[in-house]
Structure formats: structure tokens, C-alpha cells
Symmetry: C4
Subunit: 490 residues, 4 copies
Amino acid sequence: MPWTLLQVAKHNTSSSCWVIINKKVYDVTDFLPEHPGGSSIILKYAGKDATAAYEPIHPPDALEKNLSPEKHLGELDAAAAKELTRKAENREKTKDEIRVEMAQQQKPALNRVLNLQDMEDVARKVLSFRALGYYSSASDDEITHNQNILAFSRLFFSPRVLRPVSICDTSTTLLSTHTSLPIFISPAALARLGHPLGEANLTRGAHRTNIIQIVSSDASLSYEAIADARPDPNQVLWFQLYKNKDRVKAEARVREAVKLGYKAICLTVDAIVAGNRERDIRVPWMLDDMEKLDSAHEVEGDDAVRAPGDTKMEEMSINILGTAGALSNNNDRDMTWTKTIPWLRSITKLPIVIKGIQCVADAVLAAEAGVDGIIISNHGDYSLPSIEVLYRLRKERPDIFEKIEVYMDGGVRRGTDVIKAICLGAKAVGLGRPFLYAQSAYGEAGVVRLVRILEREIVSGMQMLGARSLNDLIPEMVVKVDWQSRSAKL
Amino acid sequence: MPWTLLQVAKHNTSSSCWVIINKKVYDVTDFLPEHPGGSSIILKYAGKDATAAYEPIHPPDALEKNLSPEKHLGELDAAAAKELTRKAENREKTKDEIRVEMAQQQKPALNRVLNLQDMEDVARKVLSFRALGYYSSASDDEITHNQNILAFSRLFFSPRVLRPVSICDTSTTLLSTHTSLPIFISPAALARLGHPLGEANLTRGAHRTNIIQIVSSDASLSYEAIADARPDPNQVLWFQLYKNKDRVKAEARVREAVKLGYKAICLTVDAIVAGNRERDIRVPWMLDDMEKLDSAHEVEGDDAVRAPGDTKMEEMSINILGTAGALSNNNDRDMTWTKTIPWLRSITKLPIVIKGIQCVADAVLAAEAGVDGIIISNHGDYSLPSIEVLYRLRKERPDIFEKIEVYMDGGVRRGTDVIKAICLGAKAVGLGRPFLYAQSAYGEAGVVRLVRILEREIVSGMQMLGARSLNDLIPEMVVKVDWQSRSAKL
Amino acid sequence: MPWTLLQVAKHNTSSSCWVIINKKVYDVTDFLPEHPGGSSIILKYAGKDATAAYEPIHPPDALEKNLSPEKHLGELDAAAAKELTRKAENREKTKDEIRVEMAQQQKPALNRVLNLQDMEDVARKVLSFRALGYYSSASDDEITHNQNILAFSRLFFSPRVLRPVSICDTSTTLLSTHTSLPIFISPAALARLGHPLGEANLTRGAHRTNIIQIVSSDASLSYEAIADARPDPNQVLWFQLYKNKDRVKAEARVREAVKLGYKAICLTVDAIVAGNRERDIRVPWMLDDMEKLDSAHEVEGDDAVRAPGDTKMEEMSINILGTAGALSNNNDRDMTWTKTIPWLRSITKLPIVIKGIQCVADAVLAAEAGVDGIIISNHGDYSLPSIEVLYRLRKERPDIFEKIEVYMDGGVRRGTDVIKAICLGAKAVGLGRPFLYAQSAYGEAGVVRLVRILEREIVSGMQMLGARSLNDLIPEMVVKVDWQSRSAKL
Amino acid sequence: MPWTLLQVAKHNTSSSCWVIINKKVYDVTDFLPEHPGGSSIILKYAGKDATAAYEPIHPPDALEKNLSPEKHLGELDAAAAKELTRKAENREKTKDEIRVEMAQQQKPALNRVLNLQDMEDVARKVLSFRALGYYSSASDDEITHNQNILAFSRLFFSPRVLRPVSICDTSTTLLSTHTSLPIFISPAALARLGHPLGEANLTRGAHRTNIIQIVSSDASLSYEAIADARPDPNQVLWFQLYKNKDRVKAEARVREAVKLGYKAICLTVDAIVAGNRERDIRVPWMLDDMEKLDSAHEVEGDDAVRAPGDTKMEEMSINILGTAGALSNNNDRDMTWTKTIPWLRSITKLPIVIKGIQCVADAVLAAEAGVDGIIISNHGDYSLPSIEVLYRLRKERPDIFEKIEVYMDGGVRRGTDVIKAICLGAKAVGLGRPFLYAQSAYGEAGVVRLVRILEREIVSGMQMLGARSLNDLIPEMVVKVDWQSRSAKL
């Protein structure tokens, strides 16, 4: 029963809400309250074609997984399909699209990208305004985001000389997996916002450079598609888990990952609520302003009409979700050491890594809970920078490094950053945003280039320290100083 | 006996000084030396209509309270009233008024105000130059004003993970009053400078969000009008007291507050002399320059004609009062622990809170003096930032927090700021300027929005720390760092 | 025997060097090697009229004191005098003179000068480029000059409340002299560069405000003229001594000061060599560039023609003296505690103050040497800031404050700066540059204004600290912090 | 057998690669893999005239030393020579050449260069873009390069007064050689990039000022030419050694230095791998862009075509060598204390100095290894600043200064910097870049001027500290402070 546009258009309210995606019609009425991004964003497209908004931020299997088959109402009729195609073809490009196209043409040859900052600079030019808003924003005033980077600049080296380093081995094993470098791809969501091939760029780049990729729960490709993107079925991927508050869904997600061959589960515990990424939130308004669209529909002073005593946080948070916020709405906010870890152990025999440790005390609890590794990492503003937490862990509880593998991410931008973390006891460090930028700017080649840059920096950095293997990197080589070598942006 | 303009105009000297306010004539000759703002500012309007200058910075009952009935000389005659009306209508708008009107039209929808800085940014655009000068200025080089804010950026968190936080309670009790959040409205003077409804905006906003407002002694509405603005007579207001050096007036003020139902007296002890708010002082000159008015009347080098040895500070301070300075001229500068607290106790049974504690030693004295609470707060430049004093109090005398309720204000701009203070033992924190900005920009809706923003930030901040109630916020969660995360403006 | 211009013009070499000053002819041939500013600067005017260059930087009695009577060759003849007058009248104004004249017309009314920075800002506009170069420059990279100021911003207050302060006494005694405020005028050279009345402005201003002026050895008025400028012969002046390396001259200078009624001798011990004030040195070049004069006479690469091994520092230093450097050439560089202090004691019974103490050890030596006071002060770059030295002296040797009067200067710009120094034990603090700026901008009235501003700031600062007299200002009120409240300019 | 251009042009591949230098033809096919700068840079000129690229960065004897005689194929024929001359003459100047010529004409007279920053400022204008890229760049983010300079600004003085300093002796002995000042010329490569006379400027300037020059292994003049440039055969030069990984070549280099009369061997141990000098690497691309040359030959995304797992670092490093990188390719990266020092001792009886010590532990090892001196120095990013290492060595192991002579270089820009190092126990400090800038800007005269400036600053700095000889400079005169006096550039 193919649909006309008129038929669909009638279902444009929360009582009956149909949308068109890729010329198929779906009844999402019942799904409205479940949508992680809130219902209002769907209602914007009620009765209309939502393809352009839907595609880059949903894995292709999202509808399948979340919508029961009877809600798949079928195809548009030929005229409607033709009309949509015509519209899409005739659609005038937005100013932002035009800007991006020009930037793509002018971007420098990849061999002129010398460091991760160069890569980010290119990405900032070729990314859509929306993607950049999501990729680059961080919580509140972005103090911790900046300090994650700056904290490395407060660690200096005491290099040793007259040690043989012509042969320099950067390889290591992470949870028994051999990897060429002590780095991994941290889980980062929505890679397709930056590049049509999305997470597959990361997967293939990781394969070519022999490093581990941790796939995000919020990937914009399906977990299966990512697993399938591996050139070699033995390539090791780890799975990052946002535990759904619905236990059934949570369990299903883990089982899917296990089935697809992921080799470890990284349970994220520090992002149970969305960070307040204001630059991300402002994106649609700024785009509107940019395109000078009619903004008469905006409600002025929504709070002015709220009844006294009415403190519904949900309502407000819907207003200010942004791309980032939409992702965390279904997270389980009541996880505990005694409940959640055993639950996970009960589902899978895979190694468990806890991602989001932010203080020494929790690192100790993790070791006691018997997990296999931790990733020191943070999301909220004013959390201590990751490398600072690592520094304190080394100083206060060096025994922990014997019990579990300790990783960190956040702020790594140079080979010397990696080396500092390894000196302090980390087995490896993760990079998230830099990989998103690299794949956005140059696809898979960008990912490989990024690893090669780090490899070169790590090798020469080790040689300058007098180290021929990661084991030679020891805490005594790192000196914490009390001066500022770089200034905060704010 | 209605007056003609000509009749009034003859009384234009300090020997006989009449002014017109709202078409009524007053003889203020005897009041000249008592005027907190000094006599010269009144003499500027001697024999003339002073309504425009008088209204926004005086509560409507100011004349009644300060001028004996026989000095109320009666109404203008009809011609005079008409003439003044005509003049007011025909008066050309100043450049600043035109700027403000345009800014009002262009201000963003309230739901686009995401944080307190956004709110301040809007206010800075819609406030008159004079109001902004008063609201935004601080003592001397504004070092402490800036450091009040920056000091928070030297406190980081050690967040805890895997703790249940889906339900998160931000409520508390302040001196037995339940409040939805650990924040209150700090006393801030002259709200009508920023918005015609002035302090009533704060009162109604406080009611809708269930927080406590501390009403300033220098409110631009009468204490009664503010009390009457409460939608619910059970809404709790506290009264901030600048103790007049005239004991009779001081006592009368307290008794009025008690009678009107205020629930606590906050005695301010740190602002007995006016801060040297230079930006405020410069306002009239800059307005003059802006309007390119004739400034030929200015006296050059006033000191040049002063006799040797003549060090009359009063004279000079009159020259440089500004809006802020005018308010503190009648303050009692000889208050003591042994005299003033017992005096206050003798007048009222209300709880007493000492506002303006700036060091550990005085916090201890306050506890010993048996007051109910203290507000760590400051006015003068180079006073230690409030949060720093709180930090030291926690470290040096944790017992004080058991004996009295400790609050603080100064520099709070984010939910994380609030959380830091609560972690260190504060029962609640006050915000002053942010509320003035909010009501100036959007009236009552702005006040509500501001609280909602803080609520959201506090809730998610607590969740990120692993805290489900204020009791879970403990000193160990706060780490003082020795680096700069933000730079000083100066 | 009146001279023609032609006759004078013939004596234009170092073998016979005549100059005209105020239409009188002098033979300065023998004096060339003695000139503190070096011979080359005189030779520039050999055979010519040197009045314009000579006047603002030499006291009127300089020729009398330094040139034997037979070298006073007499007057110019009438034609020559007329010719010089004509030239002077017809001389085109330089660009810098025109700029200064305009700035003088536009300078703000004195009552708009609210603080010392305002005063400096005015002075910087009305000062000639040359005077500004000399007044504002400091050694090398001006690090210590800046840090003298910035170091105060690392000291905060712990103000006390509920103390009676309505009456606040700022007076003190310095070496038995009563003074209205704990401030004095530090010796600062060449006041006439900034204002025609020069040091007399300071003297009269000091009288009107009842503070002590320390007269510089390098004053641009004679010591007698300054003494005569006192409205009251009982006004107390102190004399700052640069000890000449010629013992006879040194002794004569002291005896003159004693005879003229100066009440203390401040022996400067830290400026025996000229600071490297590069901005001062560059002044003539920059003026040349500004006026686009022909600079063809400049020798390129003077070092290029110097013989190997030739390390004559004198030659080079002549090249780079600047206004500041010229003043220190005759200073005794071999003073010692055991030789110089007894020598001074042997000449005069006046109290002796050592100016230029820069470390705790020398403060101790001064106390042991039995002098009456010390001024912590500095000239060279990277000397510890004065207030920092005072802080360390208080901490390490509090007993010294019982034995001698301790003063400081350097970087004082606010009343709070003064208060900090008093808290740490200083009896008074000196200000040098600020007084030069004040008298340059507004003459005597500027000096008075500056003191009044400080008085007001000191009084209100003390009241905010809960202090009613200088004795109430104690070390515990000052807290050293480890953050930057202001940023360095460099 | 003179060659035609056509004949040469045929040998334009790696199988047969001929180049023309100064109108002579060379077969460099076999040399390609040995070239320190990699083969690709030679292949750019295969079959062509390479003179312009070759000359400024190779010592004239480079071909002789590196190419066996049979590869010297002989001269070009007359027509070819004429053609090349014609081409060279007709060649249009590049934009950069034109800029440099103008800058040369406008540079200030040398006597206006007051300090080392002035000198650098001039050099930055007159240097070619390429030379500046090489001279001014440093590793990675140049943090350590900046901190080498800034670290001095965290050391202040405690000057002593009333000490006789009219006679002030700055001389010292370095490894028994008398020198006029405690400074030496640090080895710095490729002086001819900045000035046609190159290293000879330094040699002659060192002679005229009686200081020691350490000649770089990477000098752009032959070691012999530099030795011959000495006006006096007794002038002392030291030789800096990059030990070649080929032991025969390494030994030959040492023997040559000994034979030529160099008086000490400074073995560099911290620069065995090239620093990642990105500004240097970008030079050719930026020049291309500047000249708008056709850049169509660039390979886009070189990594994109690399096979998976292919991690050939060599290949990548060739791409990103820059001028600096090219120099370090043949360095021995397997030196050890137990192997390399004895080897060097076995070849020569000259004193041995280890250059590149970066921590206390290695200073101790050096003393134990019995070398004669060390130079605290660094190349890699985030190495602790040299003066900081010196400070720590003084604090932790003062005994080391008794056992060996300790020098440092890195960041010295003022006489006060030199004095600080001497206070902390250094016998002398080296300057590298400042001398390169000085000779680039003004040739030999610039070198002399630079020393004179430092001499004057050192003398007056010592006098201000109360020191009459270097022995009077003691650790107690240096105070480490915890504030920033200068800000980092980044």
C-alpha cells in the first residue's frame, strides 16, 4: 500500500506521528516517549520527510531495532518518491554546505599535516557546523576539556643520555592483544557526522596500523557493520557499553557485541548524565541565524508561563539537549559496584574495563571489584584532568598498576603526552576527538596518518629519553613543574 | 496652595532648597546635610523637577520616612503640571536611552539563555549605562571581585562513580526553612535601576522556585512593598540590615522588618564604608561626554584652591561618591561584637546572621557570639575570595560548621560553584549580581530561568559526582590545584 | 668683552670647547672629561647655543658649582643675543612639542583623576617624549619594575569586622617627625623635565599635605632653591645622597644639605651603576625618526672598527647612557659598611637612612651598623620586589623592626599597597614616579591630589580591615597567595 | 672530457644520478643512500645544476670527503657553463630574496642594537625565510625552547650593597684557557645560511673578544677553514662532535679536529635523533606558496596508498626532515658511558666535555666517567630547561661542581641570565642562536657587538649584586620564585 505525501502529512501530531525515511513510511507515535533525543525533535518532522536529519546520526539498523515491524508502514508511491527526489535535487544548498564544499577543495595534501593540531585545523574547516559543534564541545566552561590537554604541559622530562636506542620498540599487549603502539581509539560517537564512511574509517585505519579500536555504543554505524568493516576477522575490537536503564535492552546490547566478536567490554561509568555542551546546544540557533531563516516560531520566555513550583527538569533538559545530550537519556543512572559488575560478569566472559575512573579511590575499588582494566577518563567540568589523576594514582597507590591494566584518555595530542602517561604506569592511552577529526578530514588515510605521526613522535621521544622499549619508561623520568607552559584559553 | 514653577525656582540654594517630585513640591533645606548621597547632588535640582533622578533609586516611601509632613509643601498648579508633562513628553531621548531601546528589541528569547554568563551578557546590553555602572563595578581594581569568581576555578573535583543517582535531591533547610536548592538571593540594592518592577521580580521569582530572598536595606522598593509582592504570605524573606549610626533609626528599621514578617536579620558588617567603585563614579562624566553636553561648569583642579593642611575627607568623598557610595554614608562604623549583637538580640527574637565574615578568626568569634549563621562575603578590594575563606575555615576550624550555619556569596556563576561550596561545608550560597542581571534582562521570568539553570547544573553536577543528596557532598570531593584554569582580566 | 657668534663658533672641538647658555659664553674644555653625562653630549653643542638642552636637566647653580670663574667668559654681544632670540622665536615647533601642547589643552579636570593610574595616564599624554622616556623606563626588561607593582597583588587581606573605626588615624612619626600619613616622596630626579616648577611642586605639595619629601641629589633645582620653596621653614625635608667618588665633593654636598636645614641623610647604596634603561636610551633616535631629521651622521657599526681585545667599557657606555645613565657616572662604587657609614657619621649628626636594601642580610647589617633607618628599594633588574623583601624580613628577622625604622618604596600605587607594607612592619612607604607624574600633569595641585587620593584609600582601606590606627595593622592581616591576580605585561 | 647539459640531463634517476655543482659534474648514484638528508632531496636535482641548493649548507670540502675521486666526472663544456651563467644571471629574484635585500638596506646602525632581542629582531628581518625557519625552529611545540628562556625569569636576585665594585673582573678559565667572560659560543650549525662568511664571523669575533668558540660538526665551512680563520694561531677553538655511526668516519673526524689544533672535544649526546622542528619542515611549502609556484607535483595522501602493516618510519621521516633533520641521520644512536667515552679517550688526549646533560643523575655519571666537563643542554621538547637542571644539580649534588667543570646553554639572553648560572655554579654559559643571529645581521661586527653588550650587562649586573669577581657570585644570591614574570608565548 504505497502512500501519498498527503496521506502521510495528516499524521503530524503526537497523537499520530508518521515520518518518511528513505522513502519509506513509519509510524513512530508510540516510540515518541522512548526516543533518547526526546519527542520534540521527531515532532518537528511529523508528517514529513526526515531522512536528512535522521541519517548521519543513526545507525542504519536503528529503526529495525527500535520499531516493531507493524509500524513499518511501507513505501511511498511513485509520485511521492519522485517528488521527494526532485525536492532533494532542487534544494538550495545552505551556506554551511557551500562553505564545507569549498573547504574540502582547498584542504592541504595529507603529507602536509605534521601533527594532531594540523589535523584538527583541517577538520575544523571541512566539518559541517553541526558536526563541529558536537565534536568540539565539552561540558560547561570546558575547563576540564582544556585542562586535560594543558595538564600534560605541567609534566616535563628528565631524559637520560648515552643509552643505546637505535632499535626502539613501541609495541605492547593490552589484555593479551598485541598492539604496535601504546595507543588505542577511544570510543567516540557519531563518526558519520564527519565522514560518510564513519566508524568504518576508524576500523580500517586501526587494522592498518595494528592498534585497538573501542567501538562506541553510540556509533553511527551498526555494531555489525563495524565488525564487518574489518579487513581481517582477527582484528581486535573492543566494545564500549552505555548500560541502558532497561535491563533487557542492556543485556541484549552486550550479547550482540559478544556475538559479533568484540573482545572486551568497556563499561562507561562517568557519563550517565549528559554533559552540558553549550556550543553543541547552540548549533541549531546559530545555523538558523546563519541561514536567516524565519525564526518567528520561537517561544519567548518559556519559563514565564510555567506555574509556580513547577520544577520539571525533564522539560527543560529537552530544550537544551543538543546532539550530545540526546545520546544519554536512556543510560542507567543507578549502577553500583556490587550490582552492575557482577551482572556484566554474568552475561559475558569477556574482559571488563571500567571507563571513567576519576579519582584514586575508585581505581582502588575497581581493582577490588576484580575488573581487568580501567580507563581514567572524564566527562564533567572540573573533574581533575586524566593525566593528573594518573599522576596521583602512581604516587598514592603504585600497587594498583600491578593488579589491573590502567589506561587513560583525554587531552593526548603529542607523542610526548603518550610517553608521559606510560612513564607514570599507563599501559596505553586512548584518543577520541583526534581520530574523529582525522577521519572527518581525510577518511581512512587520515586515521593512518594520525597513527603514523604519533608513532614517529613516540619513537623519537623515547629515543630522546634513552628508552628502547616501553619498559624503560619509568616514573622518575617525569617531573611535575609548578609553572604554566601554555596558557588556558579562557 | 498649588505652586507655580516660578515660585519653586526661587528656592534654588542651600539656604532654601525646594524640589519637585511627581508634581509635588518639597522643602528639603533641612534635609540637605542628612542626605546619604551628600547635599550637592540634591542642589543640582534645587528649584527644579527632580523626578527622573529621584525615582529609580529611592523607595516610594523615602520622602515619607525622611521628611516631616510640614515640608511636604503641596502640589504644583495645573499649568506647571502641564508644562512638566509637556517637557517630559517632548524631551529628546538620550543616546543611552536609544541604545537601550534597541537592545531591548533585539534581546534573545529567554530559552536561548543557557547559563549565567549569557544572562549577564543580555543584561549588559539592555541596562542603562548608569545602572550597569552601579551593578557591575566593584572596589578599586576589582581584584577581589574577579578573584571571587576565579577562586572557584582553582577547585577541582574527585568525582565518584557507580553510585545510584537517578533520584537526586537538592533541597535543604536554612534556619529551619525548607528550600528547593542550596541557593538564596543575596541582598542587592536598587533593583529598579534595572527593571521597573525591581525587587518584586526577585520576590516573585523566589516564590516560584522556592528559594529564600534576602531583601536589601537599600532596596528601591519599600520593605513593605516587597513583602506585599509575595504571592503567598508564608513565603520566607530575610532582611539585610545596614545598621544606621542613628540608633533610633536603626531600631526602627529592625522593628519594621520584624513587623512586616521578615524571618531573619542579616547584619552586614563588612560594608560600613563605601567601596571605591570607580567605574560607578565615572558614570555621570561618561554620560556627559556621550551626550556631548556642555561641561564648561566643571571646576578644574579643585584641590588647587584648598588651604594647606586642609584634609577634609568628607569634601572629597562627596566628589566621588557614585551611586554605590551614596548608600553607605549613614552606616554605623563603630559596631562591636559585645555591643551590637546584644543590641540586636534585645530588639528581636529573629535569627541573626552576620554577613561579611572574611577570615577564620571572625567566623570563630561569630560562633562564640551565639549568632545563628554567617555569610562569608566581602566588599573591599584584596579581601580573600569568599570560597577561599570557606576553604580555610573548613581546614582550620571544621567544628564551626557544627555550631552555626555557614553561608557564602561572591563569585557564584555555575552549579559546580555551588557544589564546591556545599562540599566544603556551606549550607547554601547566595547570588547577588546574577539576580540583578536576570531581573533587569527579563523581569520575573529571568529570575526563574536563572534558578532553573542553576538547578539543572546542580543536579547534573551532583550526579556526576555520585551524589544523590547534599549530604553526599563532602570535602574530600574538592581538590585545590595550583594552576590557573582561567586568566584574570587584569 | 662681549662675544660674537662667529668667535664662539671657532671653539668647536675637544681642544677648545665653548658653549653658550642663556646668552653667556663658557669655556668647558677642561670640564669635558668630568661631565657625568660624558663629553660627547657636550661636544654636540661645541661652539653653539646649548641652552635648550642644558636647562631642563641641570640645576641653575650647576655651572657655578662645577666651573671655575675664569671659565665664565662673559656675555654675547647684542647682535648675537638678538640673533639667538630671533632663532628661538622662529624655531618651528617639533612634532612632539605640538603633541604635548594639544594634550595639555585636552587633559581632564583634576577632580576626574580618581587614582594613581589615572594620574599616570594624564602624565603620559602631557609629558614630552624625552621626559616620559626618562620617567617611565627601568632596567633591562623592566621585570623588577613590573614586579614591584605586581608583588602587591599577591598579598591579600584577612579583614576584621565589628571593630569601631569611625575615627581613623593615619598619622605617624618618621625619625621623630610627625607626618599625616605613612607615605613620603621618594627621591626622584629631574622634576623639571616634566614641569617648569619641578621639585618645588613637590615641596609645596608635601607641605600642604604634611608629608616628608626626600630631595634627590639629582634634583633639577638647586638644593637651596628647593629648601627655599618651603612655605614654612619648619617643613621637614630629607636629603638623598649619591656619594661622589671624589671625597671632597661628597663631603661638600653633605655639608650643604646640613646647612640648608635638611633633616636626614638618605644614602643611596643600590644605584652606584646606572641601570640599563633602554627606552630612555632610545629616546633621541626615536625623536630623530619622529622629526625625520637627517641622520646621515650616524656611525654604522662602531664596533666593527675597534681593535681586537679592546674592551673599553667606558666608550660603549657613553654610547648608551640615556638621560638616566648620565646621572650616575661620578658615584662612589667602593662604599663599604665599615668605611662609608662612619665617614658620614663624622660629617653630620643628622639621622642616617640607607636606601637600597634588597635582602634580609643587608637589613641586618644596617641595623648592626647603627643607622637610623633603611629604605627597602631597588634599581637593577631581577632584584626581588621591595614588598617581597619586606615580607621576608618580617618573617625571618622580626627583631629588626624594633631596632631601626624600616621603609620601602617601589610599586606603591594604591592605598591598599601602603596598608600591606604597614601591616608587615614598615613605618612608611615612599612613592617616586607617581609624584613625578602628578607634578608633571598638574603641578602642585597634582601633588596634593595624589596625596588626597592615597589618604582616602588608606582611610577606607583601614576601616575595611577594622583598624583605627596604624598600630592596628598587623602581619596577620596579610595573606600571601600563590595565584596571579594581575598579569605581567611581558 | 667536458660535458654538455644534455649529457648530464640523461642521468636523472636513482639508477644513474649526476649533478652539476659549480660547473663540475659528479656522479652521486652510489652516494644516494648515504646522504644524511636522504636521497630524495638529491634526486630533485638529478641531471641538473644543484649549486644554489648545495652551497649554503655544505662545507666546501664535503664532496671531496664523501665522494671518491672517480665520481668527479669533470667540467662542463664552455657552452654549458655559459648557459648556466646566463641562467643564473637572468634568474628572476624570488619574493623572499627581494624582501631580504630591502631589509638589508633598512637595518638599523649597529650601535642602535642595545640588547640580544634587538639583534634577533634585525636578524629575523634580514634572514632568508629558509634560514630563519632553520635557525628559529625548535622541537614539537617549542615548549622547552621557550622555557629555556622563561626559566631564567623565575630566578631573582638578593643583591648585596656597600661592597667595593669599581673594579670588576669578569674573566675566568675554562679547562685552563683564560677567557674574558664566562661565556662561549655554543656549537650552532650552518652559519653560512645567514651570512656568506658563516662560521668565520664567529671565529674572528671570538678572537676579538677573547672568548671560546665551539665549532659545530655541522659547520657550513670546513673545520680547516674555520681554524684558518683565526687571526692568531693560539686562539682556542673547541670541537663539537656528533659521533658518526660509522666508527671509521667518527674516528677520522676526531683525528682531523685534533690535527687542526682544536683544544677540546665536546661530545653531543642529546641530539642523536633529529628534533621535530615543524616550522623548519614547512619552509619549502611556504616558500612555494609564497612564490605561487606550480605545486601540482605534490602527492596527496601518501599514506593512503601504503599497504596495511607497513610502518616504515624511514620513509615518513624523509618526508619531514627539514633542514635540521637532515643533519642527524648518520648519528650513532647506540653510544654508552662504558663504550663511547673510553673509545674517545683512546683516540685523543684532549679534554672531553659531554654536551646534552639533562638531569642530575647523568651529571653524576659524567663525573664518575671522568670527563672534564659537561654542558647542561637540551634538544627535545619537554626536557627540563637547562637553568632548572643546573638549579637542581646545585641543590642535590653540590659536590659535582668540585669534580668537573659545569657549563650550560639554552635560553641565555641577558647578562643577568649569565650571572644567575654562575651563581649556581656554572663555570660559563654558551649562546648558540644569538650568535647565529648576530653574524647573520652584521657579520663579525655583530658578533663583537653581542659580546660587548653581554659584557656590559654582566659587569653592571655584578656591580649591582656587590660582586667584583665571578667568585663573589654565590648560590645564596639567587632566589627561585613561584610567580610568572613573563608569559609563555603559547
